[in-house]
């Protein structure tokens, strides 16, 4: 019964792994994998000599870490605020609506983001009412990273809050009663009952997201960036895509991809181990 799945796995996941050899070759599509010339680590050396590679790695780190931190904190704050609502109907309404952006693709979302931040977008129109000149937000390298991180957090905060909300339902209500009788006010209840109950979840999610420090989000960046913001917006994945499939530098792109895969693999492995050791959490 495992057979169909395994056949697929071999065909589409294991066979491509042999393609990694390309990273150590001067790959010539005409000659193929077996006959191309071996060059050892040349591709890697060349890659790190390129000016782009440093920019790209720095951008990837900054964007990914920004996303990881804010995607932990903003949903946490949101979940706590939501939990404090008295009206169940309003709570349901808010929840239903904020999950929605998660289910729309980045293609759709970026057209909307461009519509709002673009030269003729709402932001410039509103600015115009206050007498400011319109700005080219989407072509401004100075704010591109903030824009990427901000829109990602906005798109996902509702969905990311689900796990916190699940953890919140697990809190024993007696704890609140007891604390209130002892004279705790609302802020103290949040501070001393709600937050400690969520802390393990935050730590666990934080540890598990360690493996993502090289994933800055291809779909989003690819759909929002343009050559004017390459200096702050180009990330490893988009760079590999341009190198490989647009400039046809197969070997170089594979080397860059392998660099990313190996580091990510190690980080994910470490993070899963840590999660298992300290939070007793097993993914499999």
């Amino acid at each position: 019964m495992l057979l169909p799945g395994m056949v697929w796995l071999v065909m589409f996941s294991i066979v491509p792994m042999f393609g990694i050899l390309m990273a150590f070759q001067d790959f010539n599509p005409g000659a193929g994998l077996l006959k191309s010339e071996w060059v050892g680590l040349e591709n890697f050396k060349y890659m790190f000599q390129l000016n782009d590679s440093k920019t790209v790695i720095v951008n990837t780190f900054i964007i990914a870490i920004g996303k990881i931190v804010l995607n932990l904190l903003i949903p946490l704050i949101f979940a706590i605020l939501l939990n404090e609502l008295r009206s169940m109907r309003y709570k349901k309404l808010v929840q239903t609506v904020v999950y929605l952006p998660h289910f729309l693709s980045w293609v759709i979302m970026s057209t909307i983001v461009i519509g709002i931040f673009g030269y003729y977008g709402v932001v410039n129109t509103v600015f115009g009412m206050f007498g400011f000149d319109p700005k080219l937000f989407m072509a401004d390298a100075g704010i591109f990273r903030q824009l990427i991180i901000g829109t990602d957090v906005w798109k996902e905060f509702g969905f990311n809050a689900i796990i916190y909300l699940a953890a919140l339902t697990g809190i024993n209500l007696n704890l609140y009663e007891a604390a209130a009788i002892d004279g705790a006010n609302r802020w103290q209840l949040i501070r001393h009952v709600t937050l400690p109950a969520l802390s393990t979840t935050v730590v666990l999610l934080g540890v598990l997201s360690l493996g993502n420090v090289l994933n800055a989000g291809f779909d989003q960046v690819y759909n929002l960036y343009n050559p004017l913001v390459y200096s702050t917006g180009d990330i490893l994945d988009t760079w590999v895509y341009r190198l490989g499939l647009q400039n046809l530098q197969f070997s170089l792109a594979t080397a860059a991809g392998l660099f990313k895969s190996v580091i990510s693999f190690v980080l994910i492995f470490i993070s899963y181990r840590l999660a298992y050791r300290y939070a007793d959490y097993t993914v499999f």
Binding site: M11, F12, P16, G19, T111, I112, R186, T254, S261
Partner: protein
């Protein structure tokens, strides 16, 4: 909950309602904005005058779309891809999850397979080898590249496997005593018992296939074979690659686009998602819980 009616508490309550209300609006406004642009007068939309409500009223973009064969073609490809891709991935996932959920004494190689699976989940050959492999199979420009290329999400296999493992063993034993082989145990006992988790996984798979644009972009050589998201991406977002683009040129490019028509296309592409969303909502929360929170 303890009732607390001090002034501070009530101020917090009102502030909280307002803050959450703003967040709610921030999530719904972009969709509303797109809709407004799509039905506004072209001149008003192009000048950036639309903010809170449509200015003028015109259905011209929607009429144009009705006559746009390429748009409907892309829409149809996306539907095919979503149905086939979800069906394929779900079947594979279930077939892999069942043997892996068997106790170790029934299936000695279980852990070996498990490790292969996890390794494939965490490590991959990268973009170029993946592309060349699919090219070697002669799948480029066929719908199967999209269906198979998306493949079997190992994470979902693990999710379903964990669910199967938590089903009572007696179910399996009783079925075997009644003379059922592994296939009928899977299809007649396990699958009917795990409807909620399968529904959640199916919904996530179909959302993935509907929203995915990159495989469509890379694996399809002709625009006539693009799925909807790729079609829209090429239309609205794509900016020609050039190293010496100036801000002036960028501004020119954005002047050229037909804002009302693009907004209408984007809005239509959102509609299927907006329609299934209410049904989907029931399942995804529990689906995430099953995968994420374990006691």
């Amino acid at each position: 909950m303890v009732r607390n009616t001090t002034l501070g508490s009530r101020t917090f309550e009102i502030a909280n309602i307002v803050v959450l209300g703003l967040l709610l609006i921030s999530c719904i406004y972009p969709l509303w904005y797109t809709f407004c642009v799509s039905i506004s007068e072209k001149s008003a939309a192009n000048a950036g005058l639309v903010t809170l409500y449509p200015i003028g009223f015109s259905l011209t973009p929607y009429k144009e779309i009705i006559n746009d064969a390429l748009f409907f073609n892309a829409f149809w490809i996306s539907i095919q891809r979503t149905v086939l891709g979800t069906g394929f991935a779900l079947l594979m996932t279930v077939l892999m999850a069942y043997p892996l959920a068997r106790p170790k004494r029934d299936f000695k190689m279980r852990n070996t397979f498990m490790w292969i699976l996890v390794f494939c989940m965490l490590f991959n050959g990268g973009l170029i080898p993946w592309y060349l492999t699919i090219q070697n199979y002669h799948l480029i420009d066929t719908i199967w590249a999209l269906v198979l290329g998306g493949g079997v999400p190992v994470f979902d296999v693990i999710l379903i496997m964990n669910f199967f493992r938590n089903l009572p063993k007696e179910l399996n034993e009783a079925a075997v005593v009644d003379g059922a082989g592994p296939w009928s145990v899977l299809f007649r006992v396990y699958i009917p018992c795990s409807f909620p988790v399968l529904a959640a996984v199916a919904l996530f798979l179909s959302v993935y296939h509907w929203n995915e644009f990159f495989n469509g972009l890379v694996l399809m050589n002709t625009a006539a074979k693009y799925p909807l998201q790729t079609y829209i991406q090429q239309l609205v977002v794509n900016i020609p690659v050039g190293t010496n683009l100036t801000p002036e040129q960028y501004k020119k490019l954005s002047e050229l686009s037909n804002r009302t028509l693009n907004a209408a296309k984007v809005f239509i592409a959102m509609v299927p998602m907006l329609i299934v969303y209410p049904f989907l909502q029931k399942y995804f929360v529990s689906g995430i819980m099953l995968g994420a929170v374990k006691e």
